[in-house]
């Protein structure tokens, strides 16, 4: 009897090639005669372009073509935005700047040359005359009617205003015994995928076909959009996402460079390649977060929350990328957190600024929501003198599931949850009661220890199609080949998550074969049926479900075939461990697979072959949740912050591979840690990006990461048959508030109630210094 593998922490089948350097990223794909592209990008945040002189570049030996914005931006359609908000103002986002530049990094011209060195030399010779204009950088000040205006045609910097939420917020706040208010920043973050973006385009004039290799999370959606931008038939455009070295949302997008490379390969009749550098990546790939908001939360004396309002200014950057304006709406959806809050209101003012566009970065709007509601719960606890755990417990719903989904005042129905369960487990792991005792003792001895608790819930498995701009379903085809090897084609587009392994686990158990018998193919639009892609922690819950359902179809057909081979009624056939059995007789799946292809002994009404395709449309999102507890110690002399312990109990429903789940949680917590303590995209007053390299922008490295004590609870989702929820973003949603809360808690006795991220030691030191001076 073969062992079942779903639920087992088997090692990723992807890893050997990644670890040995045998994987093929875009830049590893070499085609003869390839031209290399280098962009000239704006060095000013806001300026009129008076002249672009490309003569010297054009004359450089080895240069084949130079395009400026004027040359091509009307020949290629605008960079797409898939999100629509009522009354939203959308600037015309051309692939390169023509008359004005809007941010440092805005592409102005591109050189194509025999190699990248020549291309870069020539790019350095392009002279751009600028006339500088006043810059708009602060998303809050941008809304001021007196602010300079970025897009003259739009007439103001306000992209849209939106009010969301349910319940009578005024009445709810009026009914409160106390109202707590706080201004909160979510600084811009850079996604920093290990592999930057990269594009290789090749046009086949005979076939009139275009192949585009691009580092993307959404191969099919990108193909559709790029075909529209180019006016090129979608079915002649093959888009391949080869090995993709991470995305974190930054490659859930369609970028100007992709369309420009496609266009150039057709114009120049040669393959063209562009590989993004790290500085370019920091200037010209989307940023995440970028909100400043004001929270108002009303509570009763016993800690019951009466209402919650979040007035927020959201930084769009100068243009919309694919989902830019939609991100704050996701914040609005999740403001209730895992609490019963009768009235919730979010008022968004979304503004243009002279910066790179913001868009989806791991969590995409939900980390902001979790952060504000978790900070708010802590503020309520501080105001009432309650323990942070008690305030949370007070407002939790009872455990719920399919029969009694949890309706919140943002309009959502949470699928299933047991918030007490995860909280209790985490408190036990942390020995919370004792932690508080230790903390008191330490404080008396002059040590600064803080404990932060975050109980989060998030929305994922995006999602029902009506809720998404471009379809929320996912597709799968499963084929059993004549030798009984199993080929899985998924419309999801894994780029580090490990679904080549987990989807094989699902197929192996369903078909009674081994993981090594299965292969997962993704990311090539010429091979894989249309799919939506990987983002929003959807690949397993939606894409994996499609695989699962295709397997059921396949098994039904195989059972019919086996019954025919055994000469029995299909109803009498059982399938277990790769064997179809009826009475004393049995036939193996290998025999059935071969028979399906030889087709010499099929039931009269059955087609040959063993292949099934499913398009799975989920009825709801899923809502993973959990509790994170962070313990920090602050150096009282320097303000330096040390994470002493990190405990996380996450519930992502049924787990297919705990090793993959841990990997996702680890990574998410690390990115949270970066946001909480280190990371911040900084533009100076002129709009220069001064955090534009990894020498300044601090992505946490292994040595800066604490040991993590992980466990989980398992509350299956009723939304899909496997009961899975998704875990790709949970860590980056749940951890940030816990870390910030721990630092705040370490300073709570000094009257500190909130600190903005990233919490730098110097800031803490200033607080300690002030306090010391005050005490002296």
């Amino acid at each position: 009897m073969a062992e079942k593998v779903v639920g087992k922490g088997i090692k990723r089948t992807e890893d050997p090639r990644l670890i040995q350097g045998l994987a093929h990223y875009v830049d590893d794909i070499k085609l003869p005669d390839t031209l290399h592209a280098v962009f000239v990008r704006s060095i000013y945040a806001h300026a009129r372009i008076k002249k672009v002189d490309v003569a010297a570049a054009q004359k450089t030996p080895g240069v084949v073509a130079v395009y400026t914005g004027k040359d091509i931006s009307q020949k290629i359609g605008p960079v797409p935005c898939g999100a629509a908000i009522p009354d939203m103002k959308q600037p015309d986002h051309r692939v390169m700047a023509t008359d004005k530049v809007y941010w440092v990094g805005h592409p102005i011209a591109v050189v194509f040359a025999e190699n990248k060195y020549v291309a870069r030399d020539a790019a350095d010779k392009i002279e751009v005359d600028y006339e500088e204009l006043p810059v708009v950088l602060d998303e809050e000040k941008a809304a001021d009617p007196k602010s300079p205006v970025i897009h003259e045609k739009i007439g103001s910097n306000i992209a849209y205003k939106l009010t969301a939420g349910e319940g009578d917020i005024e009445a709810a706040l009026k009914a409160a015994d106390k109202i707590v208010r706080q201004k909160i920043y979510h600084k811009r973050l850079a996604p920093i995928a290990m592999e930057g973006r990269g594009v290789l385009a090749r046009y086949y004039p005979g076939e009139q076909e275009l192949t585009l290799w691009t580092s993307t999370q959404i191969p099919h959606l990108a193909r559709t959009q790029i075909s529209l931008m180019l006016g090129f038939p979608e079915n002649k455009l093959r888009l391949i996402a080869p090995e993709v070295g991470g995305g974190f949302g930054s490659k859930l997008n369609v970028y100007a460079e992709e369309a420009i490379m496609a266009y150039a390969s057709m114009q120049l009749g040669r393959p063209v390649k562009w590989i993004e550098g790290r500085r370019e990546n920091m200037q010209g790939t989307i940023h995440g977060r970028g909100q400043v908001g004001y929270i108002e939360i009303g509570c009763k004396k016993d800690g019951t929350i009466t209402g919650f309002r979040y007035n927020v200014f959201a930084d769009m950057g100068s243009y919309f990328q694919l989902l830019t304006p939609a991100i704050p709406t996701l914040t609005g959806l999740m403001l209730s957190g895992c609490y019963k809050i009768p009235a919730i209101q979010m008022n968004v003012t979304a503004c243009f600024t002279n910066k790179m566009s913001t868009d989806a970065y791991r969590g995409a709007g939900r980390p902001e929501a979790t952060y504000v509601i978790e900070r708010a719960m802590d503020l309520v606890a501080a105001e009432l003198g309650m323990d942070v755990v008690e305030v949370r417990r007070k407002n939790f719903p009872e455990p719920f599931g399919a029969e009694n989904p949890f309706k919140v005042a943002t309009g959502l129905f949470y699928d299933s949850g047991n918030y007490q369960g995860a909280l209790d487990k985490a408190l036990k792991m942390a020995d919370y009661t004792n932690l508080r005792v230790e903390q008191k003792k330490a404080r008396a001895a002059g040590r600064l220890i803080g404990v932060g608790v975050s109980t989060y819930v998030e929305i994922c498995a995006m999602g029902p199609s009506p809720a998404l701009p471009a379809g929320g379903w996912e597709s799968a085809t499963v084929r059993i080949e004549p030798t009984c090897k199993v080929t899985i084609l998924t419309g999801a587009s894994p780029h580090g998550q490990g679904q080549e392994t987990s989807f094989s686990q699902i197929a192996a158990d369903e078909l009674g074969v081994t993981v090594n018998d299965c292969t997962v193919i993704h990311g090539d639009t010429a091979v894989v049926q249309y799919g939506i892609g990987t983002f929003g922690s959807r690949a397993t819950a939606v894409g994996g479900t499609a695989v699962y359902l295709a397997l059921q179809k396949l098994k039904a057909k195989a059972t019919g075939m086996a019954a025919h081979m055994l000469g029995v009624d299909a109803k009498t056939v059982t399938f277990d461990d790769g064997k179809f059995t009826s009475g004393g007789k049995s036939v193996t799946i290998q025999e059935v697979a071969l028979n399906a292809h030889l087709a010499k002994n099929l039931p009269a009404d059955m087609e040959p072959g063993l292949s099934a395709t499913t398009f799975f449309e989920p009825k709801n999102f899923t809502f993973p949740f959990g509790t994170h507890i962070c313990v920090v110690e602050i150096d009282p002399e320097t303000g330096e912050i040390q994470i002493q312990r990190y405990i996380a109990v996450d519930d992502c429903g049924k787990v297919i591979n705990p090793l993959l789940v841990h990997g996702q949680i680890h990574g998410g917590i690390v990115q949270s840690l970066g946001q909480a303590l280190f990371e911040e995209v900084v533009y100076d007053e002129q709009g220069q990006l001064i955090s534009g390299s990894l020498m300044d922008y601090a992505v946490p490295k292994a040595a800066q990461v604490p040991w993590m004590e992980l466990d989980r609870t398992e509350t299956p989702s009723p939304v899909n048959p496997m009961g899975v929820k998704g875990v790709g973003e949970a860590g980056s949603i749940g951890a940030t508030p816990a870390i910030v809360a721990a630092v705040v808690d370490a300073l709570a006795h000094l009257g500190v109630r909130h600190l903005d991220m990233p919490i730098k030691p110097e800031h803490v030191w200033n607080i300690l210094k002030k306090n010391k001076a005050g005490a002296a």
Binding site: K116, Y117, D124, T638, E680, I690, L694, D696, A698, P761
Partner: protein, 288 residues
Amino acid sequence: MIPANFDYITVKSLDEALSLLAKHKDDAKILAGGHSLLPAMKLRLMQPKVLIDIGKIKELSYIKEEGGQIHIGAMTTHFQIETSALLQKSCPLLPETATQLGDMQVRNKGTIGGSVAHADPAADWPAAVIAVGAEIVVIGPKGERAIKADDFFVDMLTTSLQPGDLVKEVRFAAPKGKTGQAYMKVRHPASGFAVVGIAVTLTVDGGKCSASGIGVTGVSSKPYRAKSVEAALKGSALDAKSLAAAASHASDGISDAISELYATGEYRKHLAEIYTRRALETAAGRAK
């Protein structure tokens, strides 16, 4: 990340390197471990026309003790210093500094000669070589000369090396008597370079500090010797109070402290004082 065009020449001897330097003058750059030079070239912050790779010159890679002096060849890597039995025994400050420098790849390629010649204001070696009172032995068109580490570092990325000069070795008197040493560093969370780095060597005689060397990096545009700390320590007891009092002078006279996104000058100066005290305490504890 695409460097400008350059010629690359490997040399087998110091003479060859010197004559090529003389020939190409300002167009040439010495290539040692490449871990400061190549990143700068990839960003086109540096565009030398000729690289003279001294990595194959065997006579530049050594750690040896001769006549009470310790000599470290310019091409000696951070890793070789970290793992040198000789240094671990006679001057553990240097191995301790090396363990805190960069990561394993950097330590395997980067060299002490390259580091001092580059003179990054946040590099680790400058603090250590100042603390041990080293001389930088330089060889140039006019032959060899020794420059005190204190005088070698002139400003950010600027040393007293003259055109045509090469760093040949770092040398210093082996610590004698009852000594204790320590290197302490606050790493920049992004770059890993020193926000402050404090190198301390103490000599103890009859329970009192008879001599000390304190090198500070990261705080100012050039590394410096904390002279007022050394003065305060001279003849002082090594109790917590005396050490703290001495350490409070760690940033005396620094008016150009570095301010950047992570830490302002004021905070750096404060860190220098705190970490000097801690390094002194550690070194005093180790003095034997």
